[in-house]
């Protein structure tokens, strides 16, 4: 059709093949880096906002937060935790007083891994809120672990001493007992187990109650500074 055809049918030189691929790669690289750079701020902001909302939800009364990691036996404040480093979030109220920790945990559920975040007040030894971040539990049954308000409300004032126990629906009387969901016993137990395991893993690393790290003034410049 075009005068090029005969040249194309002839064997093109190796140089031309490599050159074509290189140019294609170059253009694609530029396009990808361009879109990456232009969407990155939005994506980071979205993620940060989601995290803040989840932390504020599991720790009622909290208006400010910071990431905390355990290094050399001390709980230190970081702005950006390292990859794969276990992290908890410290929640603080308007005046900068420590309220509690928001602790992320994950473990096997009925279908796939369940990831959750729960609020923990060390002084009283109470879990004060729980939010499922990620799960693929069965719709209509296992997904009640976040859709059933009654079940979620079980975690509003739950003692972790000595540990949380899941019991049959309606049988829970002690402050450390959770009523399981009928038809989703395994998912309910999985949630309880994940919280217990996370709690056990952090128990040694958290400082004694009252010695939590103070809030580091955020760059936005808050109103009430720490004590």
């Amino acid at each position: 059709m075009s005068p090029d055809t005969s040249k194309l049918n002839a064997q093109p030189s190796a140089l031309r093949l490599v050159l074509t691929l290189a140019v294609a790669g170059l253009i694609s690289g530029v396009a990808i880096i361009g879109i990456y750079e232009s969407t990155l701020p939005t994506i980071t902001a979205n993620k940060a906002r989601e995290l803040r909302e989840a932390v504020f939800k599991v720790l009622p009364g909290v208006t400010r937060m910071q990431a905390l990691v355990s290094r050399d036996g001390d709980l230190v404040v970081v702005s950006e935790p390292d990859k794969d480093e276990p992290v908890v979030y410290g929640g603080y109220d308007d005046t900068g007083d420590f309220v509690g920790y928001a602790m992320p945990g994950a473990g096997p559920g009925f279908q796939d891994t369940i990831a959750l975040l729960y609020g923990y007040k060390p002084e009283e030894g109470l879990v004060v809120g729980m939010e499922i971040l990620e799960s693929r539990e069965t719709p209509g049954l296992g997904d009640k672990i976040f859709k059933d308000e009654e079940f979620v409300a079980e975690f509003d004032a739950l003692s972790v001493r000595p540990e949380i126990v899941s019991v049959k629906k309606g049988a829970g009387t002690a402050p450390n007992e959770v009523d399981s969901i009928t038809g989703a016993t395994i998912s309910s137990k999985a949630v309880v187990r994940i919280i217990n395991e996370t709690h056990a893993a952090w128990a040694e690393r958290l400082p004694p109650a009252g010695k939590e790290p103070a809030i580091v003034e955020p760059e936005t410049g808050g109103t009430g500074a720490g004590p």
């Binding site: 093949l17 074509t20 691929l21 294609a24 879109i35 990456y36 719709p139």
Partner: protein, 216 residues
Amino acid sequence: MKKNESYEEFLKGIWRDNPVFAQVLGMCPMLAVTNSAVNAIAMGMATMFVLVGSSFLVSTFRNVIPKQVRISCFIIIIATFVTIADYTLLALVPGVHKELGAFIPLIVANCLILGRQEAFASRYPTKLAVMDALGMACGFLVALFSLGAVREILGDGALFGVKLFGDSFEPWVIMILPPGGFLTLGVILLFFNWFKYKKDEFLDDVARAERSGADG
């Protein structure tokens, strides 16, 4: 004439050569993300963006790309578009992106897209190639949507998250679970077979009637 031709390329993808129902291509995303109508549409749109974009580029540069490295070039082009779609969705609609998860990058492996580049876009002028890609993508979108809508209605009693039935409706949960995907698509294909069978029967009847008419 020219206009009709490109119109034809567009229409064939929607019905006669529908990528899913007639060619049985692109099954992985087809089944994995169709547990709700919204997910199905998001997936269909992302695929459309990638398919139309790649077809346009491949067809425009079809005389520049040497035959020997064409597949590699196609894959680079497709992967670029997929990456762009991935980041755009993540920035604009993080909720939908979370639902679709790993299946957005997997658009790359959708045989429908590479197949269209090899079979059509690399041989025909840009305008026809884009029309063909649009048609195929629309056909794919229609297929995704019909499967997603059926599964959401039966499995959740809702469409686009709006409840259709009263509280007494007991959702047929299995339909939004993986087995439901296989079963629904199986039944839809069965319907297609039946339709084709009836059409052939009808054409046979017409032919026989014409023959006997000519005889008599």
